[in-house]
Amino acid sequence: MREMEDLIRLQGITKKFGDHVIIPKLDLTIKDGEFVTLLGPSGCGKTTLLRMIAGLETPTTGQVILDGKDITKLPPYKRDVNMVFQNYALFPHMTVTENIRFGLKMKGVDGEEAEERVRQVLYLIQLEELRDRYPAQMSGGQQQRVAIARALVNNPKVLLLDEPLGALDYQLRKKLQIELKNLQRGLGLTFIFVTHDQEEALTMSDRIVIMNNGVIQQDGDPNGIYHHPVNTFVARFIGESNFFDLDGVTYALRPEKLNLCEEEDEGMAHPAPQFYGTVVDIVFYGTIDKVFIRLDNTNQTVVAYQYFDDLRRWKVDDRVGIWWYDRDEVKMDQ
Protein backbone atom coordinates (compact mmCIF):
# COMPACT_ATOMS: atom_id res chain seq x y z
CA MET A 1 0.00 0.00 0.00
CA ARG A 2 2.67 2.49 1.04
CA GLU A 3 4.63 1.75 -2.13
CA MET A 4 1.70 2.95 -4.19
CA GLU A 5 1.54 6.26 -2.41
CA ASP A 6 5.18 7.18 -3.02
CA LEU A 7 5.21 9.22 -6.19
CA ILE A 8 8.79 10.48 -6.18
CA ARG A 9 11.78 8.95 -4.49
CA LEU A 10 15.16 10.63 -4.49
CA GLN A 11 17.75 8.06 -3.42
CA GLY A 12 21.31 8.82 -2.44
CA ILE A 13 21.37 12.01 -4.49
CA THR A 14 24.63 13.95 -4.63
CA LYS A 15 25.53 16.90 -6.84
CA LYS A 16 28.91 18.41 -7.50
CA PHE A 17 29.89 21.21 -9.89
CA GLY A 18 33.57 20.50 -10.35
CA ASP A 19 34.99 20.44 -6.83
CA HIS A 20 32.08 22.37 -5.42
CA VAL A 21 29.64 20.14 -3.54
CA ILE A 22 26.04 21.42 -3.81
CA ILE A 23 24.34 18.39 -2.29
CA PRO A 24 26.47 16.00 -0.16
CA LYS A 25 23.95 13.12 0.05
CA LEU A 26 20.21 13.31 0.20
CA ASP A 27 17.15 11.04 0.34
CA LEU A 28 13.61 12.30 0.00
CA THR A 29 10.25 10.68 -0.69
CA ILE A 30 7.20 12.59 -1.86
CA LYS A 31 3.72 11.12 -1.72
CA ASP A 32 0.99 11.42 -4.31
CA GLY A 33 -1.18 14.50 -3.85
CA GLU A 34 1.13 16.27 -1.41
CA PHE A 35 1.93 19.96 -1.45
CA VAL A 36 5.60 19.87 -0.50
CA THR A 37 7.69 22.99 -0.10
CA LEU A 38 11.46 22.98 -0.33
CA LEU A 39 12.48 25.90 1.84
CA GLY A 40 15.89 27.38 2.49
CA PRO A 41 18.18 30.32 1.88
CA SER A 42 19.45 30.93 -1.65
CA GLY A 43 22.18 28.51 -2.64
CA CYS A 44 20.93 25.78 -0.31
CA GLY A 45 20.36 23.35 -3.17
CA LYS A 46 16.55 23.47 -3.27
CA THR A 47 16.33 24.67 -6.87
CA THR A 48 18.98 22.17 -7.97
CA LEU A 49 16.88 19.41 -6.44
CA LEU A 50 13.78 20.63 -8.27
CA ARG A 51 15.64 20.83 -11.57
CA MET A 52 16.85 17.25 -11.06
CA ILE A 53 13.26 16.09 -10.86
CA ALA A 54 12.50 18.06 -14.04
CA GLY A 55 15.57 16.61 -15.76
CA LEU A 56 17.26 19.99 -16.26
CA GLU A 57 20.13 18.83 -14.04
CA THR A 58 21.54 15.33 -13.59
CA PRO A 59 22.60 14.15 -10.15
CA THR A 60 26.29 13.25 -9.83
CA THR A 61 25.24 10.03 -8.10
CA GLY A 62 21.91 8.61 -6.95
CA GLN A 63 18.55 7.96 -8.53
CA VAL A 64 15.36 9.84 -9.25
CA ILE A 65 12.36 7.49 -9.21
CA LEU A 66 8.98 8.64 -10.48
CA ASP A 67 6.00 6.36 -9.99
CA GLY A 68 8.28 3.34 -9.52
CA LYS A 69 10.34 4.01 -12.65
CA ASP A 70 13.96 5.14 -12.62
CA ILE A 71 14.00 8.39 -14.65
CA THR A 72 17.47 9.56 -13.61
CA LYS A 73 18.87 9.39 -17.14
CA LEU A 74 15.70 10.52 -18.94
CA PRO A 75 15.87 13.92 -20.70
CA PRO A 76 13.31 16.52 -19.58
CA TYR A 77 11.09 16.06 -22.64
CA LYS A 78 10.49 12.42 -21.76
CA ARG A 79 9.38 13.07 -18.18
CA ASP A 80 5.77 13.36 -17.06
CA VAL A 81 6.49 16.35 -14.85
CA ASN A 82 6.12 20.02 -15.68
CA MET A 83 7.72 23.08 -14.27
CA VAL A 84 6.68 26.67 -13.61
CA PHE A 85 9.78 28.83 -13.94
CA GLN A 86 10.81 31.65 -11.69
CA ASN A 87 10.40 34.30 -14.40
CA TYR A 88 7.63 32.32 -16.10
CA ALA A 89 9.69 31.75 -19.30
CA LEU A 90 6.59 32.24 -21.44
CA PHE A 91 7.57 32.12 -25.12
CA PRO A 92 7.47 35.78 -26.14
CA HIS A 93 6.63 35.04 -29.78
CA MET A 94 3.50 33.02 -28.96
CA THR A 95 0.07 34.07 -27.72
CA VAL A 96 -1.40 32.78 -24.49
CA THR A 97 -3.21 29.99 -26.35
CA GLU A 98 -0.14 29.04 -28.35
CA ASN A 99 1.95 28.96 -25.19
CA ILE A 100 -0.55 26.71 -23.45
CA ARG A 101 -0.99 24.43 -26.45
CA PHE A 102 2.78 24.03 -26.93
CA GLY A 103 3.22 20.95 -24.72
CA LEU A 104 0.20 19.21 -26.28
CA LYS A 105 1.50 19.94 -29.78
CA MET A 106 4.91 18.45 -28.92
CA LYS A 107 3.23 15.34 -27.52
CA GLY A 108 1.16 15.01 -30.68
CA VAL A 109 -2.18 15.87 -29.10
CA ASP A 110 -4.12 18.05 -31.54
CA GLY A 111 -7.55 18.78 -32.88
CA GLU A 112 -10.64 18.83 -30.74
CA GLU A 113 -8.98 17.24 -27.71
CA ALA A 114 -6.24 19.87 -27.57
CA GLU A 115 -8.82 22.66 -28.02
CA GLU A 116 -10.92 21.28 -25.20
CA ARG A 117 -8.03 20.94 -22.78
CA VAL A 118 -6.77 24.45 -23.53
CA ARG A 119 -10.32 25.74 -22.96
CA GLN A 120 -10.49 23.95 -19.63
CA VAL A 121 -7.27 25.38 -18.21
CA LEU A 122 -8.09 28.86 -19.50
CA TYR A 123 -11.34 28.56 -17.56
CA LEU A 124 -9.46 27.27 -14.54
CA ILE A 125 -7.11 30.27 -14.45
CA GLN A 126 -9.88 32.66 -15.55
CA LEU A 127 -7.99 34.24 -18.42
CA GLU A 128 -10.31 33.31 -21.29
CA GLU A 129 -10.57 36.89 -22.47
CA LEU A 130 -6.77 37.22 -22.77
CA ARG A 131 -6.30 34.10 -24.89
CA ASP A 132 -4.89 35.98 -27.91
CA ARG A 133 -2.58 38.32 -26.01
CA TYR A 134 1.21 38.06 -26.14
CA PRO A 135 3.14 37.73 -22.85
CA ALA A 136 4.53 41.27 -23.17
CA GLN A 137 0.96 42.61 -23.15
CA MET A 138 0.12 41.10 -19.75
CA SER A 139 0.84 41.91 -16.12
CA GLY A 140 3.15 39.78 -14.02
CA GLY A 141 0.26 38.11 -12.22
CA GLN A 142 -1.45 37.22 -15.50
CA GLN A 143 1.78 35.83 -16.93
CA GLN A 144 2.16 33.76 -13.80
CA ARG A 145 -1.27 32.18 -14.30
CA VAL A 146 -0.50 31.42 -17.94
CA ALA A 147 2.73 29.73 -16.88
CA ILE A 148 0.76 27.55 -14.49
CA ALA A 149 -1.86 26.77 -17.13
CA ARG A 150 0.84 25.89 -19.65
CA ALA A 151 2.15 23.28 -17.22
CA LEU A 152 -1.22 21.98 -15.99
CA VAL A 153 -2.70 21.41 -19.44
CA ASN A 154 -0.37 18.44 -19.87
CA ASN A 155 -1.84 16.62 -16.84
CA PRO A 156 1.61 16.09 -15.34
CA LYS A 157 2.09 13.66 -12.48
CA VAL A 158 3.88 16.39 -10.57
CA LEU A 159 3.92 20.15 -10.91
CA LEU A 160 7.26 21.74 -10.04
CA LEU A 161 7.21 25.40 -9.05
CA ASP A 162 10.48 27.34 -8.78
CA GLU A 163 9.81 30.45 -6.68
CA PRO A 164 6.86 31.22 -8.95
CA LEU A 165 5.63 34.18 -6.92
CA GLY A 166 9.01 35.77 -6.24
CA ALA A 167 8.68 38.52 -8.85
CA LEU A 168 5.23 39.72 -7.75
CA ASP A 169 4.32 42.42 -5.27
CA TYR A 170 3.17 41.54 -1.78
CA GLN A 171 -0.61 41.89 -2.24
CA LEU A 172 -0.71 39.86 -5.43
CA ARG A 173 1.55 37.23 -3.91
CA LYS A 174 -0.85 36.74 -0.99
CA LYS A 175 -3.78 36.38 -3.41
CA LEU A 176 -2.00 33.91 -5.68
CA GLN A 177 -0.82 31.84 -2.70
CA ILE A 178 -4.41 31.12 -1.82
CA GLU A 179 -5.39 30.52 -5.46
CA LEU A 180 -2.54 28.07 -5.94
CA LYS A 181 -3.35 26.19 -2.75
CA ASN A 182 -7.01 25.89 -3.77
CA LEU A 183 -6.03 24.78 -7.25
CA GLN A 184 -3.81 22.06 -5.83
CA ARG A 185 -6.53 20.86 -3.45
CA GLY A 186 -9.13 20.89 -6.20
CA LEU A 187 -7.01 18.92 -8.64
CA GLY A 188 -5.49 16.59 -6.03
CA LEU A 189 -2.20 17.07 -7.85
CA THR A 190 1.28 16.75 -6.35
CA PHE A 191 3.01 20.14 -6.08
CA ILE A 192 6.68 20.60 -5.30
CA PHE A 193 7.20 24.23 -4.48
CA VAL A 194 10.52 25.97 -3.99
CA THR A 195 10.76 29.19 -2.03
CA HIS A 196 12.98 31.09 0.36
CA ASP A 197 9.98 32.84 1.92
CA GLN A 198 9.10 31.07 5.18
CA GLU A 199 5.72 32.77 5.50
CA GLU A 200 4.75 31.52 2.02
CA ALA A 201 5.85 28.00 2.97
CA LEU A 202 3.86 28.01 6.20
CA THR A 203 0.68 29.26 4.48
CA MET A 204 0.59 26.88 1.54
CA SER A 205 2.26 23.58 2.34
CA ASP A 206 1.14 20.20 3.61
CA ARG A 207 4.75 19.48 4.31
CA ILE A 208 7.90 21.59 4.49
CA VAL A 209 11.43 20.35 3.81
CA ILE A 210 13.97 22.81 5.18
CA MET A 211 17.38 22.72 3.53
CA ASN A 212 20.71 24.32 4.20
CA ASN A 213 23.98 23.70 2.36
CA GLY A 214 22.38 20.81 0.46
CA VAL A 215 21.35 19.00 3.64
CA ILE A 216 17.77 18.49 4.84
CA GLN A 217 17.52 20.15 8.25
CA GLN A 218 13.96 19.23 9.08
CA ASP A 219 11.07 17.60 7.25
CA GLY A 220 7.53 17.89 8.63
CA ASP A 221 4.19 19.65 8.63
CA PRO A 222 4.14 23.47 9.06
CA ASN A 223 2.80 23.30 12.59
CA GLY A 224 5.47 20.87 13.76
CA ILE A 225 8.23 22.84 12.07
CA TYR A 226 7.13 26.09 13.64
CA HIS A 227 6.55 24.83 17.12
CA HIS A 228 9.18 22.13 17.32
CA PRO A 229 12.23 23.19 15.35
CA VAL A 230 14.94 20.55 15.78
CA ASN A 231 17.96 22.81 15.55
CA THR A 232 19.00 26.43 15.78
CA PHE A 233 19.10 26.81 11.98
CA VAL A 234 15.42 25.89 11.65
CA ALA A 235 14.44 27.88 14.71
CA ARG A 236 16.15 30.96 13.29
CA PHE A 237 14.99 30.46 9.71
CA ILE A 238 11.30 29.99 10.58
CA GLY A 239 10.04 32.93 12.57
CA GLU A 240 11.98 34.65 15.33
CA SER A 241 13.59 32.68 18.12
CA ASN A 242 15.45 33.32 21.32
CA PHE A 243 18.06 30.86 22.52
CA PHE A 244 18.82 30.22 26.17
CA ASP A 245 21.61 28.05 27.49
CA LEU A 246 20.71 26.10 30.63
CA ASP A 247 23.19 23.57 32.04
CA GLY A 248 24.91 23.16 28.68
CA VAL A 249 21.67 22.57 26.77
CA THR A 250 20.26 25.12 24.28
CA TYR A 251 16.55 25.83 24.36
CA ALA A 252 14.67 27.82 21.69
CA LEU A 253 11.76 30.01 22.68
CA ARG A 254 9.45 31.99 20.40
CA PRO A 255 9.17 35.66 21.40
CA GLU A 256 5.41 35.26 21.95
CA LYS A 257 6.10 32.54 24.53
CA LEU A 258 8.29 34.75 26.70
CA ASN A 259 6.57 36.43 29.61
CA LEU A 260 7.88 39.43 31.50
CA CYS A 261 7.39 40.34 35.13
CA GLU A 262 8.68 42.81 37.71
CA GLU A 263 12.08 41.91 39.10
CA GLU A 264 10.79 41.94 42.67
CA ASP A 265 7.51 40.13 42.20
CA GLU A 266 6.47 38.58 45.50
CA GLY A 267 4.06 35.65 45.60
CA MET A 268 3.74 35.32 41.87
CA ALA A 269 1.12 33.05 40.31
CA HIS A 270 3.46 31.82 37.59
CA PRO A 271 6.77 29.93 37.38
CA ALA A 272 9.78 31.77 38.77
CA PRO A 273 11.81 33.82 36.23
CA GLN A 274 14.76 31.93 34.73
CA PHE A 275 16.59 35.08 33.64
CA TYR A 276 16.71 38.75 34.54
CA GLY A 277 17.59 41.71 32.40
CA THR A 278 17.11 45.34 31.40
CA VAL A 279 14.78 46.61 28.68
CA VAL A 280 16.97 48.25 26.01
CA ASP A 281 14.41 49.04 23.30
CA ILE A 282 10.70 48.82 22.54
CA VAL A 283 9.41 48.79 18.97
CA PHE A 284 5.74 49.29 18.18
CA TYR A 285 4.43 46.76 15.61
CA GLY A 286 0.71 47.43 15.44
CA THR A 287 -0.86 44.56 17.34
CA ILE A 288 2.20 43.97 19.49
CA ASP A 289 5.20 45.66 21.08
CA LYS A 290 8.56 44.02 20.53
CA VAL A 291 10.50 44.39 23.76
CA PHE A 292 14.25 43.91 23.58
CA ILE A 293 15.92 42.85 26.80
CA ARG A 294 19.62 42.57 27.58
CA LEU A 295 20.22 39.66 29.89
CA ASP A 296 22.29 40.19 33.00
CA ASN A 297 25.86 38.84 32.94
CA THR A 298 25.81 38.18 29.19
CA ASN A 299 25.88 40.37 26.13
CA GLN A 300 22.86 38.52 24.72
CA THR A 301 19.72 40.43 23.78
CA VAL A 302 16.39 38.59 23.56
CA VAL A 303 13.04 39.73 22.23
CA ALA A 304 9.59 39.23 23.72
CA TYR A 305 6.22 40.11 22.15
CA GLN A 306 3.82 41.90 24.48
CA TYR A 307 0.16 42.55 23.67
CA PHE A 308 -1.58 45.79 24.51
CA ASP A 309 -3.97 44.24 26.95
CA ASP A 310 -1.03 42.93 28.97
CA LEU A 311 -0.96 44.08 32.55
CA ARG A 312 1.44 46.89 31.90
CA ARG A 313 3.58 48.41 29.20
CA TRP A 314 7.30 48.44 29.73
CA LYS A 315 9.70 51.34 29.33
CA VAL A 316 13.35 51.44 28.39
CA ASP A 317 15.64 50.77 31.40
CA ASP A 318 12.95 48.83 33.27
CA ARG A 319 14.29 45.84 35.14
CA VAL A 320 12.42 42.65 34.22
CA GLY A 321 12.31 38.95 34.98
CA ILE A 322 11.76 36.51 32.11
CA TRP A 323 9.75 33.33 32.58
CA TRP A 324 8.05 30.66 30.45
CA TYR A 325 6.14 27.43 30.69
CA ASP A 326 8.16 24.24 30.30
CA ARG A 327 5.85 23.06 27.49
CA ASP A 328 6.95 26.03 25.33
CA GLU A 329 10.67 25.39 25.43
CA VAL A 330 12.20 23.43 22.53
CA LYS A 331 15.42 21.59 23.16
CA MET A 332 17.91 21.93 20.30
CA ASP A 333 19.89 19.02 18.82
CA GLN A 334 23.57 19.75 19.21
Partner: protein, 265 residues
Protein backbone atom coordinates in the same frame (compact mmCIF):
# COMPACT_ATOMS: atom_id res chain seq x y z
CA UNK B 1 25.76 80.41 -15.73
CA UNK B 2 29.15 78.94 -16.52
CA UNK B 3 27.68 75.49 -16.88
CA UNK B 4 25.21 76.51 -19.58
CA UNK B 5 27.91 78.45 -21.39
CA UNK B 6 30.03 75.29 -21.49
CA UNK B 7 27.19 73.05 -22.58
CA UNK B 8 26.30 75.44 -25.43
CA UNK B 9 29.89 75.32 -26.58
CA UNK B 10 29.88 71.52 -26.43
CA UNK B 11 26.65 71.39 -28.42
CA UNK B 12 28.02 73.76 -31.07
CA UNK B 13 31.24 71.76 -31.34
CA UNK B 14 29.35 68.47 -31.62
CA UNK B 15 27.08 69.84 -34.32
CA UNK B 16 30.15 71.12 -36.19
CA UNK B 17 31.74 67.65 -36.07
CA UNK B 18 28.50 66.08 -37.27
CA UNK B 19 28.38 68.63 -40.08
CA UNK B 20 31.94 67.67 -40.98
CA UNK B 21 30.79 64.04 -41.21
CA UNK B 22 27.71 64.72 -43.29
CA UNK B 23 28.33 67.88 -45.32
CA UNK B 24 30.53 66.22 -47.96
CA UNK B 25 27.95 63.48 -48.43
CA UNK B 26 25.14 66.02 -48.71
CA UNK B 27 27.12 68.05 -51.26
CA UNK B 28 27.82 64.89 -53.24
CA UNK B 29 24.12 64.08 -53.31
CA UNK B 30 23.19 67.67 -54.14
CA UNK B 31 25.49 67.85 -57.14
CA UNK B 32 24.00 64.68 -58.57
CA UNK B 33 21.01 66.90 -59.34
CA UNK B 34 23.04 69.77 -60.86
CA UNK B 35 22.51 70.43 -64.54
CA UNK B 36 26.10 71.51 -65.26
CA UNK B 37 28.52 68.80 -66.34
CA UNK B 38 31.85 70.33 -65.37
CA UNK B 39 31.43 73.29 -63.08
CA UNK B 40 30.53 73.44 -59.46
CA UNK B 41 28.25 76.37 -60.25
CA UNK B 42 24.62 75.45 -59.74
CA UNK B 43 22.89 75.74 -63.12
CA UNK B 44 19.60 74.04 -62.46
CA UNK B 45 17.89 70.97 -61.08
CA UNK B 46 17.84 67.80 -63.16
CA UNK B 47 17.25 64.07 -62.97
CA UNK B 48 19.12 63.46 -66.22
CA UNK B 49 22.24 61.94 -64.62
CA UNK B 50 20.06 59.28 -63.04
CA UNK B 51 18.48 58.65 -66.46
CA UNK B 52 21.97 58.33 -67.94
CA UNK B 53 22.73 55.67 -65.36
CA UNK B 54 19.69 53.65 -66.35
CA UNK B 55 20.79 53.77 -69.99
CA UNK B 56 24.40 52.90 -69.27
CA UNK B 57 24.95 49.23 -70.11
CA UNK B 58 28.17 49.03 -68.04
CA UNK B 59 26.47 50.41 -64.96
CA UNK B 60 23.66 47.89 -65.31
CA UNK B 61 26.17 45.06 -65.73
CA UNK B 62 28.02 46.20 -62.62
CA UNK B 63 24.73 46.39 -60.77
CA UNK B 64 23.83 42.84 -61.76
CA UNK B 65 27.29 41.59 -60.75
CA UNK B 66 27.01 43.40 -57.43
CA UNK B 67 23.61 41.87 -56.73
CA UNK B 68 24.64 38.34 -57.73
CA UNK B 69 27.78 38.47 -55.59
CA UNK B 70 25.89 40.16 -52.75
CA UNK B 71 23.01 37.68 -52.69
CA UNK B 72 25.11 34.51 -52.89
CA UNK B 73 27.65 35.76 -50.33
CA UNK B 74 24.85 36.77 -48.00
CA UNK B 75 23.05 33.43 -48.21
CA UNK B 76 26.18 31.32 -47.73
CA UNK B 77 27.73 33.47 -45.00
CA UNK B 78 24.41 33.71 -43.11
CA UNK B 79 23.90 29.95 -43.21
CA UNK B 80 27.47 29.17 -42.13
CA UNK B 81 27.66 31.98 -39.60
CA UNK B 82 24.34 31.13 -37.95
CA UNK B 83 25.23 27.47 -37.44
CA UNK B 84 28.60 28.52 -36.03
CA UNK B 85 27.01 31.04 -33.67
CA UNK B 86 24.60 28.37 -32.40
CA UNK B 87 27.43 25.89 -31.84
CA UNK B 88 29.47 28.54 -30.02
CA UNK B 89 26.53 29.51 -27.87
CA UNK B 90 25.61 25.98 -26.92
CA UNK B 91 28.89 24.20 -26.39
CA UNK B 92 32.13 24.85 -24.61
CA UNK B 93 35.10 24.38 -26.89
CA UNK B 94 38.54 23.51 -25.61
CA UNK B 95 40.17 25.86 -28.09
CA UNK B 96 37.71 28.67 -27.36
CA UNK B 97 40.37 31.39 -27.52
CA UNK B 98 41.76 30.14 -30.80
CA UNK B 99 38.25 30.02 -32.29
CA UNK B 100 37.47 33.53 -31.12
CA UNK B 101 40.75 34.72 -32.58
CA UNK B 102 39.97 33.09 -35.90
CA UNK B 103 36.56 34.77 -35.95
CA UNK B 104 37.74 38.26 -35.01
CA UNK B 105 40.97 38.44 -37.00
CA UNK B 106 39.33 38.78 -40.42
CA UNK B 107 37.56 41.89 -39.09
CA UNK B 108 40.62 43.39 -37.45
CA UNK B 109 43.30 42.68 -40.03
CA UNK B 110 43.75 45.48 -42.62
CA UNK B 111 41.46 44.85 -45.59
CA UNK B 112 44.29 45.27 -48.05
CA UNK B 113 46.17 42.35 -46.48
CA UNK B 114 43.11 40.13 -46.71
CA UNK B 115 42.50 41.16 -50.31
CA UNK B 116 46.01 40.47 -51.53
CA UNK B 117 46.31 37.22 -49.59
CA UNK B 118 43.19 35.94 -51.35
CA UNK B 119 44.64 37.08 -54.66
CA UNK B 120 47.79 35.10 -53.90
CA UNK B 121 45.72 32.06 -52.89
CA UNK B 122 43.61 32.11 -56.05
CA UNK B 123 46.64 32.50 -58.27
CA UNK B 124 48.48 29.66 -56.48
CA UNK B 125 45.56 27.37 -57.23
CA UNK B 126 45.11 28.80 -60.74
CA UNK B 127 41.59 29.91 -60.06
CA UNK B 128 40.71 32.53 -62.73
CA UNK B 129 39.58 35.83 -61.20
CA UNK B 130 35.89 36.46 -61.70
CA UNK B 131 32.57 36.25 -59.96
CA UNK B 132 33.52 32.97 -58.23
CA UNK B 133 36.62 34.42 -56.59
CA UNK B 134 34.66 37.55 -55.65
CA UNK B 135 31.98 35.46 -53.99
CA UNK B 136 34.53 33.32 -52.11
CA UNK B 137 36.25 36.46 -50.84
CA UNK B 138 33.02 38.20 -49.85
CA UNK B 139 31.78 35.17 -47.90
CA UNK B 140 35.09 35.17 -46.02
CA UNK B 141 34.85 38.74 -44.79
CA UNK B 142 31.06 38.60 -44.13
CA UNK B 143 31.23 35.39 -42.11
CA UNK B 144 32.64 36.85 -38.89
CA UNK B 145 30.12 39.70 -38.86
CA UNK B 146 27.26 37.20 -39.12
CA UNK B 147 28.64 35.02 -36.32
CA UNK B 148 28.99 38.06 -34.06
CA UNK B 149 25.57 39.51 -34.86
CA UNK B 150 23.68 36.23 -34.42
CA UNK B 151 25.83 35.43 -31.37
CA UNK B 152 24.78 38.71 -29.72
CA UNK B 153 21.14 37.77 -30.20
CA UNK B 154 21.73 34.29 -28.78
CA UNK B 155 23.54 35.70 -25.76
CA UNK B 156 20.52 37.90 -25.10
CA UNK B 157 18.27 34.84 -25.19
CA UNK B 158 17.42 33.52 -21.75
CA UNK B 159 18.26 29.84 -21.26
CA UNK B 160 14.89 29.39 -19.60
CA UNK B 161 12.99 29.47 -22.91
CA UNK B 162 14.83 26.42 -24.18
CA UNK B 163 14.52 24.73 -20.80
CA UNK B 164 10.79 25.42 -20.71
CA UNK B 165 10.38 23.98 -24.20
CA UNK B 166 12.32 20.90 -23.21
CA UNK B 167 10.19 20.58 -20.08
CA UNK B 168 7.11 20.78 -22.33
CA UNK B 169 8.13 17.66 -24.27
CA UNK B 170 9.97 19.37 -27.15
CA UNK B 171 12.84 17.24 -28.46
CA UNK B 172 16.09 19.17 -29.06
CA UNK B 173 15.15 19.60 -32.73
CA UNK B 174 11.60 20.77 -31.95
CA UNK B 175 13.03 23.10 -29.32
CA UNK B 176 15.29 24.66 -31.94
CA UNK B 177 12.60 24.75 -34.62
CA UNK B 178 9.75 26.23 -32.55
CA UNK B 179 11.53 28.27 -29.87
CA UNK B 180 15.19 29.10 -30.53
CA UNK B 181 14.97 29.80 -34.25
CA UNK B 182 11.94 32.14 -34.13
CA UNK B 183 13.49 34.02 -31.21
CA UNK B 184 16.87 34.56 -32.89
CA UNK B 185 15.35 35.28 -36.31
CA UNK B 186 15.74 39.08 -35.93
CA UNK B 187 19.45 38.50 -35.25
CA UNK B 188 19.81 36.29 -38.32
CA UNK B 189 18.04 38.86 -40.51
CA UNK B 190 20.24 41.62 -39.08
CA UNK B 191 23.33 39.51 -39.76
CA UNK B 192 22.19 38.91 -43.33
CA UNK B 193 21.54 42.62 -43.87
CA UNK B 194 24.98 43.49 -42.56
CA UNK B 195 26.56 40.84 -44.79
CA UNK B 196 24.69 42.18 -47.82
CA UNK B 197 25.67 45.77 -47.00
CA UNK B 198 29.33 44.83 -46.58
CA UNK B 199 29.29 42.89 -49.83
CA UNK B 200 27.70 45.50 -52.08
CA UNK B 201 29.83 48.21 -50.45
CA UNK B 202 33.16 46.43 -50.60
CA UNK B 203 35.87 47.99 -52.69
CA UNK B 204 39.29 47.10 -51.30
CA UNK B 205 39.05 43.31 -51.31
CA UNK B 206 37.06 43.20 -54.56
CA UNK B 207 39.76 45.37 -56.12
CA UNK B 208 42.25 42.50 -55.71
CA UNK B 209 40.12 39.49 -56.57
CA UNK B 210 37.72 40.69 -59.29
CA UNK B 211 38.30 39.78 -62.92
CA UNK B 212 37.68 41.83 -66.07
CA UNK B 213 34.10 40.57 -66.42
CA UNK B 214 33.09 40.83 -62.80
CA UNK B 215 33.16 44.58 -62.19
CA UNK B 216 30.95 45.56 -59.26
CA UNK B 217 29.49 49.01 -58.63
CA UNK B 218 32.26 50.19 -56.24
CA UNK B 219 34.88 48.99 -58.77
CA UNK B 220 33.06 50.82 -61.54
CA UNK B 221 32.92 53.99 -59.45
CA UNK B 222 36.68 53.69 -58.79
CA UNK B 223 37.43 53.37 -62.48
CA UNK B 224 35.32 56.44 -63.20
CA UNK B 225 36.85 58.46 -60.35
CA UNK B 226 40.34 57.73 -61.66
CA UNK B 227 39.27 59.12 -65.03
CA UNK B 228 37.94 62.33 -63.52
CA UNK B 229 34.75 63.49 -62.01
CA UNK B 230 31.39 63.23 -63.66
CA UNK B 231 27.83 63.84 -62.53
CA UNK B 232 26.98 60.19 -63.25
CA UNK B 233 29.35 59.09 -60.47
CA UNK B 234 27.61 61.56 -58.18
CA UNK B 235 24.29 59.99 -59.04
CA UNK B 236 25.56 56.42 -58.69
CA UNK B 237 27.30 57.20 -55.39
CA UNK B 238 24.15 58.84 -54.08
CA UNK B 239 22.06 55.78 -54.95
CA UNK B 240 24.58 53.50 -53.22
CA UNK B 241 24.68 55.72 -50.13
CA UNK B 242 20.92 55.71 -49.82
CA UNK B 243 20.64 51.95 -50.23
CA UNK B 244 23.37 51.36 -47.65
CA UNK B 245 21.90 53.76 -45.11
CA UNK B 246 18.52 52.08 -45.50
CA UNK B 247 20.03 48.62 -45.01
CA UNK B 248 22.04 49.67 -41.97
CA UNK B 249 19.05 51.34 -40.32
CA UNK B 250 16.99 48.22 -40.96
CA UNK B 251 19.68 46.00 -39.43
CA UNK B 252 19.95 48.38 -36.47
CA UNK B 253 16.20 48.18 -35.87
CA UNK B 254 16.51 44.40 -35.59
CA UNK B 255 19.45 44.39 -33.20
CA UNK B 256 18.94 43.78 -29.50
CA UNK B 257 18.92 47.41 -28.41
CA UNK B 258 17.57 49.09 -25.28
CA UNK B 259 14.02 48.14 -26.14
CA UNK B 260 14.77 44.45 -26.57
CA UNK B 261 16.75 44.41 -23.34
CA UNK B 262 13.82 45.84 -21.47
CA UNK B 263 11.56 43.18 -22.86
CA UNK B 264 13.97 40.37 -22.07
CA UNK B 265 14.44 41.56 -18.49
Amino acid sequence: MQKTWRSHLLLAYSLAVLAFLYLPLVILAMYSFNDSRINAVWTGFTFKWYEHLLNNRRVLEALINTLIVGCISTIVSTALGTTAAIALHRYKFKAQNAINGLLYLPILIPEIVMGLSLLVLFSQFHLPLGKTTLILAHITFCLSFVVITVGARLDGLKAEYEQAASDLYATPWQCFRYVTLPLIMPGIVAGALIAFTLSIDDFVISFFVAGPNSTTLPLYIYAMVKRGISPEINALSTVMMCVEIALVLLAEALQPSHKAKKQAG
